[in-house]
Amino acid sequence: MNEQERPLSLVLFSGTDDKLTAAAVLAVGAAAMGRPVHVFLQYYALDAFRASRVCADHGLAPEATAAQAAAVRGHPGQHWSELLGQAKDVGDVDVQACALSMEVYGIGREDLDPLVDGVQGVAAFMASATDGQVVFM
């Protein structure tokens, strides 16, 4: 796995547990397959990465019906924060908080979970995306 792989860049906007889990699964898969992964946290996703809120209930996407919500909540899979930790463990995964969103909430680096590696502006994030895909969730 030494050849240079195209990075996968995930822009996380939604902060519901289902979308964060879907994103974390993509990150684990890409990292396991040797692709660098860049995660950019904006708005509601960033809010979910506050150290005090990672383990809180972040709800589900609005399209979840009552039956689907029950199925998703009842599934014994790992929490998205744990999956993201595994992704960082097996591969090159960098998680950055959007500087603008940090300002919106009036929070600092110290308010974020240790899964977050730093605070970045959008241009730096795009520079790191190079010629790989950028996925917005």
């Binding site: 796995m1 699964v25 684990v28 898969g29 396991a32 397959m33 040797g34 599934h75 014994p76 899979g77 790992q78 999956l83 595994q86 463990d89 097996v90």
Partner: protein
């Protein structure tokens, strides 16, 4: 394959995707080159994930055996 010496067996039955693959990766990283690892998985995703990862990571997929309700993946760490 039934006679193959397995150095480490991982029972990941009941774990959802990508759990069994991640357990295999963790075990291989802790193990040594030449050792043989076996993963038991009931996750359908493993049937595509484990061969894809083994090829990508340049290890050797010794075999995949369908059992009752799960599959047995045997992998040799090649490097």
């Amino acid at each position: 394959m039934s006679t193959m010496q397995v150095d480490r067996s991982i029972d990941a039955r009941g774990m959802p995707c990508p759990g069994p693959l991640m357990n295999l990766i963790g075990a291989i990283r802790q193990g040594q080159v030449g050792q043989v690892f076996e993963v038991l998985s009931s996750d359908e995703g493993s049937k595509t994930d484990i061969p894809a990862w083994v090829a990508k990571a340049k290890h050797e997929l010794v075999g995949v055996v369908d059992e009752d309700g799960y599959a047995r993946f045997v992998v040799r760490r090649a490097r």
